[in-house]
């Protein structure tokens, strides 16, 4: 169980996030400027807020980003351009990148999981956007942190590749018992991932519900407000 109660102020923007998230996937929806990425940055420790973040009885707020049981996958720039694919994954296990046999094995295994074995010696600028994000996912796998934050990491991919990635994330989340939070603009992505859906408005969680309701939203739900803005009614 991941629960948070976080306040954050930046100029005119005042956020107060409160929620309790179960194991599995939670999609975060909301209009642009509603504070979705801010929430992830707060959880990841990249900006400072007040309040508390609890995970399995541990308080995370006072911890540095690298001390939190969290891996964040950003929209872009998840890889060091100066390191090869192999090293980009290896650095998740050991900052010095000198690995034991067992660790090397693990990198191989992670590359296999994302089907990039033959790309081990390539550099990020030789990869497509989807391949680069898969390398980042491979690093998530070796890091074995129980919380995964995804900040629209697949928004730049074509629809087929995007759904492949979402399936991969869904599958990995269930297999390794992660708590996965994904910011997305697309209700369809949220439905594909299943699990929970959070709707953010002006820095507040206004709805938390099963993602299934996105297919049949009751007329009085705040989701309607958001969806009417984000996509025309069928």
């Amino acid at each position: 169980m991941l629960s948070f109660d976080l306040r954050y102020r930046w100029q005119d923007f005042q956020a107060h996030y409160q929620a309790q998230l179960p194991l599995g996937v939670t999609s975060i929806l909301g209009a642009s400027g509603g504070g979705k990425s801010t929430l992830l940055a707060l959880l990841g420790g990249y900006i400072e807020g007040q309040g508390s973040i609890q995970f399995e009885g541990q308080e995370l707020l006072s911890l540095a980003p690298y001390e939190r049981p969290i891996t964040t996958l950003f929209q872009s720039d998840n890889l060091f351009p100066q390191l090869s694919v192999w090293d980009n994954i290896a650095i998740g296990l050991s900052p010095s990148r000198s690995l034991s046999d067992e660790q090397k094995h693990k990198v191989h295994w992670a590359l296999e999981q994302v089907q990039l074995q033959v790309y081990a010696d390539k550099f990020p600028d030789q990869l497509s956007g989807g391949q680069a994000q898969r390398v980042a996912i491979a690093r998530v796998l070796v890091r074995k942190k129980p919380i995964l934050l995804l900040d629209e990491p697949f928004s730049a991919l074509d629809p087929k590749l995007r759904s492949d990635m979402l399936h991969l994330i869904k599958d990995l989340t269930h297999r390794y018992q992660w708590t996965t939070l994904m910011v997305t603009h697309s209700p369809a992505d949220a439905m594909l991932l299943g699990g929970q859906a959070l709707l953010l408005e002006e820095g507040r969680v206004v709805v938390q519900a099963d993602a299934k309701i996105l297919s049949e939203i009751p007329p009085d739900s705040p989701f309607n407000r958001y969806l009417h803005i984000s996509m025309p009614v069928k």
Binding site: I47, A64, P65, Y66, S76, F80, P81, G92, P95, S96
Partner: protein, 526 residues
């Protein structure tokens, strides 16, 4: 377009600049007789000078960079009380007149110095020790600033990843910082090397004799004491040759770089610290403070003594102040005019088919003085005047012109980015509505005035602090403040010199802020 009438003043400016420079070089080379050069080549003194120039320049550059790297990393990652002050101190030590800093160093390390009274032994100031001390004093802050600029180019995403992965400061340095640094280091090394290789005032004041001399000083001696133009032209060609050679070699070493384009700038992130990181940060901070701070204190200490107020009553001081201003202001304006001419042509050429290369060449022509020593240019000009029958009385204009040329690289660095930015953003609009010449200047003035002021201020400051060309002529009407100061240090009247130094620094600060406020239109912090 490029030949249209509104660009005529710019063409004129560039032409005058290049023709005078060319004529000066031709005039000097006219006195060269290469048949004698075999004799010079065999002269062991020349080679000793070359060897020493090389050694001191390499050591100065190496030391400056070695100290600057941990300092810059510390300044980037840590926030501590006095950090901003230290950064301002670095900025000041870069523009403080050479001779003033030399004075500070002499007070701290010379005979009867603070060092002697503190440790009971005298510091081996005159020779390599003093030269290194001064060169690092000037160039280490420069190196720190260049490195910090390189750090600004590191995408935030890299720090974010490093923080997420819990890399230690050492790993962050090796993986991220070093990666971005290594492509800047050869250029930085080269810059400092060249500045020190052709170093004049420092070596003249602290070299302590022919044993530790540089080519530039040897040229000065050949010109002033031996009046051997042939030897001077040989030595200057040698200097140009060696500088070009080093430049070529260093650029061959620049490694290829893998870089992404994302430049998102966000908050500073926490890196995992360690005892080692703390130790390195603290150690480099202490060394840098010990190196930079005492000469500064020494410069400003006399302001509380009665001698300072006595010195203020000396008419020599006010005369030399007047000479300084009389040279610095016109030469600053001249540098700005040449710089603006180059800028106007370069912006007209850039973004045009085939014009890009020409724009670059124009810009590089402004860096002439980095390759050809200012003393050589001055001598060439002097000879040119003599050839056409104008006498030494016009040394004033030679000094003004050479100082302007010396400042040109700095003026260009200040104005070019802004000018290019305006051209890039608005050139289609300008073309569409035919906004040219003065009309364009009026429109852009509010955007470029602060850059223009910055360029002018640098040029005036450089000229104010110059001790090179004035030392060469050193005739009546040219005893500037730095010259006066040099004479005082030479006759061991260091206390009085310190008072003059304070006046010179105050003059620099006043002119710098006046120019920035009146022309730049806003308050500027050094």
């Amino acid at each position: 377009m490029i030949f249209s009438s509104h660009l005529r003043p710019a063409w004129l400016g560039v032409a005058v600049y290049l023709v005078i420079a060319g004529a000066a070089l031709v005039a000097l080379l006219g006195y060269a007789s290469p048949s004698d050069w075999g004799r010079y080549l065999a002269d062991p003194y020349t080679w000793r000078v070359v060897r020493f120039s090389f050694t001191q320049a390499s050591l100065s550059a190496l030391l400056s960079i070695l100290l600057a790297i941990p300092m810059a990393s510390c300044l980037f990652h840590r926030r501590f009380i006095g950090r901003q002050t230290l950064l301002s101190l670095f900025a000041i030590s870069m523009v403080v007149p050479t001779i003033v800093a030399i004075l500070g160093i002499v007070v701290v390390y010379g005979r009867n110095s603070w060092f002697t009274s503190l440790f009971g032994v005298s510091f081996p100031l005159y020779g390599l020790g003093g030269i290194l001390l001064a060169h690092v004093f000037f160039n280490m802050p420069l190196a720190v600033r260049v490195i910090l600029q390189a750090y600004q180019l590191i995408p935030d995403a890299q720090w974010r990843l490093a923080s997420q992965l819990g890399l230690s400061r050492w790993h962050v340095f090796r993986l991220i910082e070093w990666h971005y640094l290594k492509k800047n280091l050869p250029g930085l090394f080269l810059l400092i090397f060249m500045l020190c290789f052709s170093g004049f005032a420092v070596v003249l004041s602290l070299g302590g004799g022919p044993r530790s001399s540089t080519l530039e000083v040897a040229i000065y001696q050949a010109l002033r004491f031996e009046f051997d133009l042939n030897k001077a032209s040989y030595l200057s060609l040698l200097q140009v040759f060696i500088c070009s050679l080093v430049a070529l070699a260093v650029y061959k070493l620049v490694p290829a770089i893998r870089q992404d384009v994302s430049l998102y700038q966000g908050a500073r992130l926490l890196m995992r610290s360690s005892r080692l990181a703390m130790l390195v940060d603290f150690g480099s901070l202490i060394i840098v403070l010990l190196w930079i701070l005492p000469p500064f204190i020494a410069i400003f200490a006399p302001i509380v003594t009665p001698l300072f107020w006595q010195t203020l009553w000396q008419s020599d001081l006010w005369w030399s102040l007047w000479h300084s201003v009389r040279i610095a202001l016109p030469s600053g304006v001249l540098a700005l005019l040449i710089g603006l001419s180059i800028a106007a042509l370069a912006r007209a050429l850039r973004w045009r088919r085939g014009g890009d290369g020409w724009a670059q060449k124009l810009e590089q022509s402004g860096n002439l003085v980095l390759m050809v020593p200012s003393l050589v240019l001055a001598t060439g000009l002097f000879l040119m005047f003599r050839n056409i029958g104008i006498s030494i009385k016009h040394a004033y204009w030679i000094v003004v012109w050479v100082n302007a040329v010396m400042a040109l690289p700095f003026v260009l660095r200040a104005i070019m980015p802004t000018v290019y930015q305006q051209e890039k953003r608005f050139r289609h609009l300008y073309e569409q509505m035919n906004v040219v010449g003065l009309a364009r200047l009026r429109m852009e003035w509010s955007q470029i005035r602060s850059a223009v002021a910055q360029g002018l201020a640098y040029a005036v400051l450089l000229s104010l602090g110059d001790l090179g060309v004035v030392a060469l002529f050193g005739s009546k009407g040219l005893e500037t403040l730095p010259m006066y100061l040099y004479q005082l240090i030479g006759s061991y009247r260091v206390e009085q010199g310190a008072c003059v130094a304070v006046v010179l620094i105050l003059l620099c600060l006043v002119l710098f802020s006046l120019i920035n406020r009146l022309i730049g239109g806003r308050r500027v912090v050094v």
